[in-house]
Structure formats: C-alpha cells, structure tokens
Amino acid sequence: MAQPVREYQDIQGIVRSGYGRLEEASFLLLRITNLSEAKAWLAAVVEEPGAEKLSYRVTHAGHLSESHQERALQIAFSAPGLRRLRAPEELFQDGSINNFPREFRLGIAAEDPDPEGRSRRLGDIGENAPSNWEWGAPPETPDVLVMLYAEAGCLAAFQQMVMADLALGFEVFRVLGTAKAAEEGDTRREPFGFVDGISQPEIDWGAKREPGTGADLEYGNLIAAGEFLLGYQNEYGLFTKRPLLDPARDPDNILAPAADVPGQLDLGRNGTYLVFRHLEQDVSGFWSFVSKKSPGNQGVDLAEAMLGRRLSTGDPLVTASRAEIRGVGPDALDIRQNGFTYEPDPEGLTCPFGAHIRRANPRTADMPGGKQGLISWLLRALGLKRGGPRDDLLSSSRFHRIIRRGRPYGAVIDHRESVLRGKPPGVASGIYFISLNANISRQFEFIQNAWIVNAKFNGMDGETDPLLGNRVPSLGNHVTDGVSLPQPSGWGQRLAGLPQFVTVRGGAYFFLPSLRALRFFARQSGTG
C-alpha cells in the first residue's frame, strides 16, 4: 500500500495551492553572482539557525492549513543553477543511476541547432523556436526562479524588499509581472477571455486509492501523489526516478532516506519539477479571426468550439456525466465543470475532437468500454473486439496529468470587447504557463507532443491544437493549420488557414525542491 503524504511542512505550498487568494504575483528570473551570498539568502528564507532573520520565508504546504497567508514565496532551480550552487556533481553525471533526469539536465531548449529534437517534439519550431525566445534558450537560461505572491496592493512592496535582499547574491535578469487580478468575486481569466485553470487533478494525499485496479477502467481524477511529488508511489505503484545521494554527502543529516533504495538519501522527496513557459497570446488576432469566420455571435461559438468550454461560465460543451467521477466534487461547481468525459460524444459533435481541452486531457480510462464482464475485458485487452476507427487511439489519462499553476500577464480585462471595437490593447498579453509533474518526459512532454502539437491526434489529420498550434507544415509539406468541427450534416466541417495565436517567448525546466533540499543546497560546503 502506498504511503500517504504527511510532511506538509517540507513541501512548497504551490504544490497544494495556486494561491488564488493572493491576487498579485510576479516571477523573478535570477542568476547567481555570488555563491556565499546566494546561499546565505537561501539559508535565511528556510529559517536556518544562525541565518539572517527576514520578514518572509519559503511558504510550505503546512502554512496553508495553519493560517491565512498574506504573501508567499517559492523557489525553484534550473540544472545550470544547481550546478552553480555546487550541488553534488554526480547528480548531473551521464550514466549515473541516481542523477537528475536527462530532460531536466538538458533543459527545455537545447543549444541551437537542437540536435536531438526536443524542440521538434514540443512544437517549439518556426516562430516558437528557442532562437526567437526572449529568455530561456542558452545562454539566456535562468539559474533560479523566485515566485512571489501577495494580496491585492501588497506585491510591489514585497517584491522590492525581496529584490533588495537578493541583490547581494543574485542578478535579477528578468521580472515577469502578472496581470492585475480580475474584479473581486470574478473568476480568473486568461487573455482570450476564458476562465482558466478549471481542470486540475485531485492529488491523492492520503493514498486512499490503489492505482492500477479495475476501477481505472473508468476515468478518474484522483491521482497518485507520486505523479506530482517525488518520493511517493506514482500511477504505476512505483517510485519515479529522482536524485538520490550517498549519506556521506549529507554530514548534517538534513535529507530523508529514500523509501525504496536502502542506504541512499532522497534529495527529491517532497520536491517536483516545474515547467515554465512564457506564452504570448495574440488576442486581437484570435478574436478577429473567429469573428470573421463565424460572424454570428461575434465568433464566440467558434472560440468555444476551439476551446471546448463556454466563454461566460467555463462550463464544458459536453454535458456532465451522470455517474460520479472519482476525484471530482463534492463542490457543485466542480461537478458541473469537471464531472464529465467525452464518452457521450464519440462523433465530436458537441465538443470537437481537436478542442483544446479535449486534447490537453482526453479524459480516457485504461481501456475504452469501461467496466464490463471478464470475457469482454479479456477480448478488449487482447485487441480482439472490433471498435470504430477511432477506438482506443488515446493513452490513458492518468499517466499524463499535470498540476497547472499558470498566471496571465498583460492587458487582460475587456480585451475582447476592445478588439471587436477595433481597438486592440497596446500591451502584449499572454500566460505564464506553469505546470508541476514528477516526470517531465511522461507528463508535460507527452501531453505537449502526443496530444497538443500532434497533427494526427485522435485519428485527425493536418491540425494541431487550435489555440496553441505553431501551424508549421510537417515533413512533405503537410499542413497543420486546420481545425475540424464535426457537423451532423457530414460536411463543411473543416476550417483551414488558422493563424498562429500563441507564440512561445521563453521557458525553462526547474526543480522545485522540498524545504529539506533547500536547506541542503544552502548548507552545502564549497563556497566560491
């Protein structure tokens, strides 16, 4: 049986909460300039004995249940950042068993040209190519990401104070400010105007569910903690590979032992990986395109079909499922917005197959058809039961979930109206996409590659995500700029020539360490 998560005081709070009540946020991209000062600041924010006393600290998941937090601070490191911090070299060594995973070590963007094709797989080509990024492509890679959250009106002072303290050890090479929050009581919307962050996996903190049983023949939203936190069992009932260390490396006994490898310390435990992507949205281009293509209702119908949810409420286009879905609810709003699968819509007539939310999470179970008799299970497992041409094309969702903690930036309010009135906002806007996962390649990269940018997703052809697609033709000059909107009539369902609406402007893979690991990094000897 899997172990429940208990060490909340060791887990950075962002894993547990998106800090929705802290309406203001900014993300600082840092480079380490003075190692001992950098470590001194790290020691201070994790309240190491003897370290300087600051009026803020790293927020952990335990704080969230203790009291209301007026502000929050989180820290994550890129691979170059950890090396600059003098983290043990074996963590980065090729061929070592207990090193950081390769995708983290290499980073989201390789040097140009990208020989092994990570950018190709992520759709970061054409306009999205790292060579065009504002930050994140080598050598413009950040060492450290500091995330600041505060209640309305309080961020500026908080940020100023933190930046003053950082100045000794770090260079702040970019401050990514987020959008002012929507009006009180309103839901947070991304720049196109849609409610954002509706669907999240429910983390199985208490290890109440055993993954891989017959129950997984139905789609569920309660996901093993090990998918989002290192050091716990994942959806395979296994421990995701993570950085482990020899006890000799930790003379102060800071780190916890590895639960599955005797004699090793778990640097990863209670930490995870954070994928950061700076996505610029062409709000004006989006709304003028959809309103031109679908003049009725000023393009809202088309925009909703491309996203898969209603613009005004965020409700899904498909109707809620009658059966209860594990990990959804009991909140009525959650049931209305997430209590559904696409099974009642096999033709894509209600929600197009290519709609953004149907790609990003197809809500599939381990096997199509759900729970039936043993004979049926056996026939389906052996592939002996004939289904339609689209049957069983998609992987099971539970192995490919991410926690999303993104925030919008730029002019967000009323942009749609202003575009339609012919006055596009002058400021660039978009979203800082932030996702948390224990296995970057199986979670974020798989979703991005196999579902979002795959021109052949779910048996379709010549189209990628209608919102995120880069529209770059694939090998042999096959177009990818279409979108299919299945109609009962059977024809006229394909829209061609979609422009690019979202452009990648930066990004990085970070390690979001536990508080123990932060202490470990702060205390590591070898100052420079």
């Binding site: 061929g95 798989f446 196999a450 052809d461």
Partner: protein, 451 residues
C-alpha cells in the same frame, strides 16, 4: 532481411557511406544514387542498420563461458514489400546493384565481382516472426487512395463554395456523392483494382487455419471415436500430461525469473550520447523506426521458450490480427522478430506512428504482457513474473532497457511520408465509399465527414 558481418575496421567508413543516402537525419533520400528506394514500387519501408551491440558485456554476469567477445558486427538490410521478397531482391540487384556492391563491400568476404543476388540470398535471414498491419494492402493502393482523398477534399471545397449547390446538398447529400463519382470517372485519379493478396500469404494463412482446424479435430477425436467414459479417460490422461509439462515449465521459468543474475543491479541507464544519437533520428516524419538488438540469457531454456513464443506469434498474428491492430496497438505498420548468431541474439525491428515516448506508453500500458512474452528471455530485461507480469510494467526500468538496446538506424525509407496507419485506413474507407453501388443517406454523411 539480409545480414552479413562487416569488417570491424570499416565500421566508421560504412556509417559515413550510409549517411550519404539521407536527405535529412534518419530519412533516406528516395532518389539517392546508392539505393534509390523510390524506384521500387512495391517497397513500403526499408532500412540499413549496423548491428553493433553495445550491451554484449552484460553477458559477463552469467560467467565467463556466457561471454561472446568475438560477436560479429552485422550490417542488416531490411525491407517490407508487396509480393515476393526474392523478386524484389532481384530487382534491387538490377537497379541498384552498383550501390549495393559499394555498401556490402564492407562485409566480411564480400566479392565485388561475384554474383550479388546469390550473395544476398545466401546472407538472408528469415525472421522468426513477422507482423503486417494490414495484410494485402499494397504501396500502390496506399498512394492511389491518398491521391483520391486529396482530390475529393479539393472537390468538396470547390463544391461547397457554391452556395446554391451547398443549400441543395443539405437535404440531398447523394447529389454530392454522385457528382464525385462522375468527377473521378472523368478526371481521375485512377484507381487500380486491388491486387490479390500474394499466393504465399494466402497459403500461409490457409495453412494456419487448417492447422487450427486439424488441432481442433485431434482434440475432438476421442469424443468421436470412443465411448464417453473412455474419452473422458483419454482427456484426463492428456490433461495430466499437459499439467505435468506445464508444471515442469513453470518450475524452470520461476527458477530463471528468481535466480538469474540481474544485469540491472545496479541499473544501467542508457548514456546521454546514445540517447542523443537516437533522438536525432526521430520524429522527422509522423512515422518512426525502431531497431533493437540484444542477447538471450545463456542456456537452452530461454532460447527454447523464445523460439516457441516467436513461432506462435508468427502463426497467430495473421489469424488474430490481420487488419489494423496488433493486440491493442494500432500504430505498428510492420514488425519482425529475428534470431541471429545461432539464437544467441535477437533483433526486433518495427515501423510505428507517433513518438518513441508514446510507442513506449502503448507498450507499457496496453501490451506489457506481449513484450514480456516475446522479450522476457533477453539479457537485462526487467524481471518478469510468470512471463506475463512485471517486466514492461516496470515503466522507467523498461524504457531504459529498450532505449539502451535500441540502435541508431542510419538509413530509413518510408514510401508514403506524412501518412499514418489511421490516415491510410481512412483513405481506404473513402475509396470503398466511392466504389460502393448503394449507400444510405446516413452512410453518405458519414463518408463525407471523413473527406
């Protein structure tokens, strides 16, 4: 498949020569001067790959007598074609003889002035098992049907551009279909009637079915010939013998599964350099190649087990999975399992749609049992339980093992870039819809929605 040991000192030069055949990494130029794959109308896929097994040293965990220090490095030439492979081989000699001679000159004992066809025949290795996604579907058919789809899509766009026609068609989709049938009749594209499935394939399938019938007959024989009591006795005896044999097998199996030395302890992840080498060649087209090579555990048990399983795979797949899927996997165009070096080593080669990560996802989540059965006796394969469980279910360990055994495939050719199996099957349905005598209105709407 043609496989011949190369002169080891020539490996680097051979690799260089092979790379000249590509127009982008991992993708052969169909018109390359050495072997212009594009001129061979019956060829679906082809590859040249150097089988240099970097995992040979794993054998040392089984003791010095298991080691194989003088294992040859093979050059393998694989192709998947319509009709007779031998005929294609002769065609290769005719039209690409000079290029092939240049390539095979790196093989041990190759005589550039000798009879090339004879040499290739003598070095051809028959796969132990073969899988074809859709038996009888030819390259010509795939290409013509893709052209048809493209033409119909264009007709449809033009057709619907006319508002009056579109309004009329709303109630009578039959009009559209009739117009399409006429247009294709008049302007093409031309559609060659489907070729009959090669006799060899039909015979193979027939033999498989006959064998199944014969087996059923033998099973039923006591019932037919003896009284009920005697038959029961015979069945009981046979059952007893089978159970005993199974028990002996399971005891051996479990002993191997629990006591065989574990190569993966400590685990051996693939090196960064190796992964970069593989990654470089992948995801240029919607289809990718996979070539994996490894050794079997020493001793007769692993080899016999694998021999029987591969034989069964070869026998059963054309019967169980003739069209569109291999168990739950719908993305494999062709696959083959080949013994080498007197069953010391084995090769698996496939062509699949999607990325390597999603291919592995299917392996782990949909057909782990199949992977365990067919590769469970390989050195370094993650520990299995009763040959069906464990193994590929150990997700990351399995992915590491298969990537470590994957070989960079220098030269890879696909006759229809941009098309996945799902595309190909859809195009075939579109053609069938066009050629059908009658269709209901619902069927026509369904048909149109695929265009």
């Amino acid at each position: 498949m043609v496989a011949a040991p190369i002169v080891p000192s020539g490996e680097a030069d051979l690799r260089k020569l092979l790379l000249t055949m590509n127009d982008s990494p991992g993708t052969a130029d169909p018109n390359n001067p050495l072997v212009p794959f594009g001129v061979f109308d019956t060829l679906h896929f082809a590859r040249f790959v150097i089988l240099n097994d970097a995992t040979l040293s794993d054998l040392s965990v089984f003791g010095p007598e298991a080691e194989f220090p003088d294992a040859p490095i093979y050059l393998a030439f694989l192709g998947d074609c319509d009709g007779s492979a031998d005929f294609l081989l002769a065609d290769f000699v005719d039209r690409a003889g000079d290029g092939l001679r240049k390539i095979f000159a790196y093989c041990d004992g190759f005589n550039p002035n000798g009879d090339l066809l004879q040499w290739m025949r003598s070095h051809s290795v028959k796969p132990a098992a073969n899988y074809v996604n859709w038996i009888g579907r030819t390259v010509l058919q795939i290409r013509e049907e893709a052209a048809l789809h493209e033409a119909l899509a264009k007709y449809l766009t033009e057709y619907l551009a006319d508002r009056s026609i579109r309004d009329k068609a709303k109630d009578q989709p039959r009009h559209i279909r009739d117009a399409f049938v006429r247009a294709v009749d008049e302007n093409g594209p031309r559609l060659t009637p489907p070729a009959p499935t090669p006799l060899g394939w039909q015979i193979r399938r027939l033999i498989s079915i006959l064998a199944a019938v014969a087996a059923a007959f033998i099973v039923a024989l006591p019932l037919l010939m003896l009284s009920a009591g005697a038959a029961l006795l015979v069945y009981g005896a046979v059952l007893l013998i089978i159970s005993a044999a199974l028990a002996v097998f399971l005891v051996h199996l479990r002993r191997h599964e629990t006591t065989d030395p574990d190569v993966q302890s400590p685990p051996k992840p693939p090196s960064d350099e190796h992964l970069a080498e593989l990654g470089k060649l992948q995801d240029h087209d919607v289809t990718n190649q996979y070539t994996a090579f490894g050794s079997f555990k020493p001793g007769p048990f692993p080899r016999w087990t694998t021999t029987v399983i591969w034989w069964l795979v070869n026998l059963a797949t054309p019967i169980l999975y003739p069209r569109g899927n291999l168990a739950r996997i719908k993305t494999i165009h062709f696959a083959r399992w080949v013994f080498l070096d007197g069953k010391r080593g084995g090769l698996f080669a496939s062509n699949y749609d999607g990325s390597s990560e999603s291919y592995m996802d299917d392996f782990v989540n949909k057909v782990a049992f199949g992977l365990n059965l067919t590769f469970g006796q390989g050195v370094g394969y993650p520990r299995t339980r009763f040959l069906l469980w464990g193994g590929a279910e150990r997700e990351q360990e399995f992915k590491d093992v298969q990537r470590r055994h994957a070989l960079p495939t220098e030269v890879w050719y696909k006759a229809y870039p941009g098309l996945t199996l799902i595309d190909i099957a859809r195009n075939a349905r579109i053609r069938q819809g066009l050629e059908r005598k009658t269709m209901t209105e619902t069927e026509i709407r369904q048909w149109l929605s695929e265009i």
